[in-house]
């Protein structure tokens, strides 16, 4: 059997799967942010007309998938796998969304790295010939995440400057064999890293080592330099995590300073309540859908390394004093001009 692998841990696709479409449905705060032009639907209220935030999150997930399918010109009979995940216990937003679609479903949990985790699995399903099209949907919601991970939303407390603001959004994408692009050339799944950070309000610090490890391994495996990418996008490292990640990579002799941007710093204006930046599954996913895919289609970005990061803790492990394991998955996207399209 011939394996499509390169280096120690990178998968490369001889026939590259295609991003057929992507769609993003967001809440009010995101809808006022710098990327507002790129979103497909903006809700005026975080309840999105539902009776609970959990119901709203699931609805947004469903809406984003409906829009992504419509954009790709597909209906659910042409989707062979639906992959979805979110931040809530028992990934309820994804599971409850999936009951609305008559498609084989695989639930995912990778904390805020779920978008990249899903892209890895979806592209392997398509490239391996196991699916004609695979749909991927991820979501996060500020209010559902606050009540699960922190305090009631109306509780009066001061957020620390290292804390991050969970993005309220749901994003879907369809991966297939033909389509508008960009193409997925290779993926590197992350290893769980733990540098002993115990502060759940400082996830940037917790996740930076995972990001640095995955990026370093990806560049090694592909024999590339950061300059080979027009953009290296981290998921939600925030201000502090970005500084740390760059520093960790610099120590390994890799300087990503020019190429690196963080989705958590692209999605909101810099405001005190946002803290160190945005976070959540939908943070990287919203930037992927509203910025990366359109920019690549316009030919402004030729090659992008999309690296979503996740902090794999729960409130229980933090209360028991455990440090925060974290992960980062890398997906390398390329834009090919018309002439070289297969």
């Amino acid at each position: 059997m011939k394996f499509s692998r390169q280096g120690n841990s990178t998968v490369v696709f001889p026939v590259m799967p295609v991003v057929r479409s992507s769609a993003c449905v967001v809440g009010p705060r995101e809808g006022k942010g710098p990327l507002r032009e790129g979103f497909d639907l903006i809700h005026e209220d975080t309840l999105a007309g539902r009776t609970s935030w959990e119901k709203a999150e699931s609805l947004m997930l469903r809406q984003s998938l409906d829009i992504a399918l419509a954009k790709a010109g597909l209906d659910e009979t042409q989707i062979d796998f639906l992959l979805a995940g979110d931040l809530l216990n028992q990934i309820i937003s994804a599971n409850f969304m999936a009951r609305e679609f008559d498609v084989p479903f695989i639930g995912l949990y990778g904390a805020c790295s779920t978008m990249a985790e899903g892209l890895i699995i979806a592209s392997m399903l398509v490239a391996g010939g196991f699916a004609r099209n695979a749909a991927l949907a991820v979501s996060s919601h500020h209010d559902t995440a606050e009540r699960q991970y922190r305090y009631p939303t109306e509780f009066a407390y001061m957020r620390t400057p290292t804390s991050q603001w969970t993005v309220t959004a749901a994003c879907s994408t369809v991966i297939g064999v033909t389509g508008d692009g960009p193409w997925i050339e290779g993926v590197t799944a992350g290893r769980v890293q733990d540098n002993g950070v115990t502060d759940a309000n400082d996830m940037g610090s917790a996740m930076a080592p995972a990001f640095a490890d995955t990026v370093w391994r990806h560049l090694q495996d592909m024999s590339r330099k950061p300059e080979d990418y027009d953009l290296i996008l981290s998921g939600d490292l925030g201000k502090i995590g970005s500084l740390l990640a760059r520093e960790l990579l610099r120590k390994k002799g890799v300087d990503i300073e020019d190429r690196h941007r963080d989705a958590g710093l692209l999605i909101y204006e810099d405001r005190p309540e946002i803290g160190a930046g945005g976070s959540g599954c939908a943070c990287s996913a919203a930037v992927f859908s509203a910025m990366v895919v359109p920019s690549m289609r316009r030919g402004e970005l030729k090659r992008v390394l999309f690296v979503a990061t996740g902090a794999l803790h729960s409130p229980i492990t933090c209360q028991q004093g455990e440090s925060i394991p974290s992960i980062a998955h890398a997906v390398s996207l390329v834009w090919r001009s018309e002439e070289v399209k297969p």
């Binding site: 009631p152 109306e154 509780f155 009066a156 290893r191 733990d194 540098n195 490890d213 502090i240």
Partner: protein, 150 residues
């Protein structure tokens, strides 16, 4: 090694502190003092006003507390008290209005999970420890007072 050893953890902790913005302790303390003081000023005005009706000190104090708890709950309900807490921190949390907020906010939050397992079960999620430890503290202080007074 995916899992850092003690020396690596310590080195990383130092790096992380260096990358983090300094917490503006002075600014936070000043804002907390001003906001906390303003809340207490409101309490004092209410107390003076009630006392002026001549109902006696104990009565006036308990009515003032009731009014302040109401105000804390009211502004929590309006969705404003959490914003005050976001700016003033302990300045909003320590006065009795903050105690009201700590009980009303989970009650509001968990209303969707029903009145028994939601509102009433979760109501003291934040305030519970405050009540438990203030009870223990008062027990210790009163015991000490009892012993020393002999």
């Amino acid at each position: 090694m995916p899992r850092a050893n003690t020396r690596e953890k310590e080195a990383y902790r130092k790096l992380s502190i260096k990358a983090s913005p300094p917490r503006s302790v002075l600014r936070n303390a000043v804002v907390a003092f001003l906001v906390g003081g303003a809340i207490c000023l409101v309490g004092q005005i209410v107390l003076s006003w009630i006392s002026s009706t001549g109902i006696g000190r104990v009565q006036a104090l308990s009515r003032t507390q009731t009014i302040m708890v109401f105000l804390g709950a009211f502004f929590t309900g309006l969705g404003l008290y959490d914003k005050l807490g976001g700016v003033a921190g302990m300045g909003a949390a320590i006065p009795i209005t903050g105690f009201a907020n700590s009980i009303v906010s989970p009650a509001m939050e968990f209303k969707r999970e029903g009145f028994v397992l939601g509102v009433s079960a979760r109501m003291f999620q934040v305030a519970g420890p405050v009540i438990v430890y203030s009870f223990i503290a008062s027990l210790l202080v009163s015991s000490a007072a009892l012993i020393l007074a002999r």
